[in-house]
Symmetry: C2
Amino acid sequence: MVVRVDLNISLDGYATTTDQTPEDPFGQDWSRLVGPYTATRTFQERVLHEPGAGTTGVDDKHAAAYFEGIGSEIMGAGMFGLHLFPDDPDWQGWWGDEPPFRVPVFVLTHAPRRTIEMANGTRFEFLSASPVEALELATDAAAGQDVRIGGGPTLIKTFLEAGLVDRMHVGITPILLGRGIYLWEGLRGLEDGYNVSAETAESGVVHLTFQR
Amino acid sequence: MVVRVDLNISLDGYATTTDQTPEDPFGQDWSRLVGPYTATRTFQERVLHEPGAGTTGVDDKHAAAYFEGIGSEIMGAGMFGLHLFPDDPDWQGWWGDEPPFRVPVFVLTHAPRRTIEMANGTRFEFLSASPVEALELATDAAAGQDVRIGGGPTLIKTFLEAGLVDRMHVGITPILLGRGIYLWEGLRGLEDGYNVSAETAESGVVHLTFQR
């Protein structure tokens, strides 16, 4: 079992964008940041339910790896959407009736709500817990498979700073956003103890892998 | 004639390090940042005068391109060393009797000093001038060849912000420094108008090229 992180950042290190509103919940920068990822066959099929659509190159290879061997996931309240829809007890996330996860997902929040069971194996469980406590639960739920720290970047940074991440894939989109949440703050020397490899995609995205 | 920039940055975007002292004029972070570059055959031969030494892979291809077709260079006072040795009128830079440039080099400083002519074609000329004024002089001196904005990063940022750079090569070393001068500050949208391509080296360095 390894603890994994997969995320996209801009060339200037922004791991997510901060121009979201209820009307535009992803924000204007987001589509540019994740454009090459959302264009992949894996995303088109698994998230948008468009069989046969999407790119099949290096970006897709990494996108497919994003889901392979994952037994459970931990995500922050913001990624699930609780900050934008705090008063909607029926909010089930962004992903419709068939979320792409298909495993138990532990959502960290100070205001837990009822567990949501989806038909495709996705189960959203809400926890007020420390990262280490959440990781213990997620490890049990993964039953020997890997645990993914899904995001957002603030949660990912918490796990990185605590030394809990075994493998991190970072897709660097060659654009400069100049705003958002800067992934690398406080992570001087992170590369110690990891092998870092790089691969470039047809889209211009650079895929970095930190592997313990 | 194109205006070119070549520099190394860390994964977290630091284009130079700030832990220099007179006793350790490059600082502790510098050797890690530029290690793959200084290991190249081009650097070993052209800067250290060690014929036949050095690596000959992707890093060296980019290192060699660093010097090809350059007719003149502009650099800041800090890169020449004037900030560390302001009271030494005989200071001739870091590069000994055979600096690697072999072309006219215009050093921007508010305290110009006498021009230094070296035997190998390198000439250091000191100017109190704006970037545009310096570029006009350097363009004339280049006689149809390219002008390189050598550094440091603050000077490079000035030229980038002014839209004066036609081609930029950035070697990204996969380490997190967490301190230094952050190249990308204020450069949101820089990629507009450039084609951006990426290539990975055996060393793990990712070579990005912004080409107009």
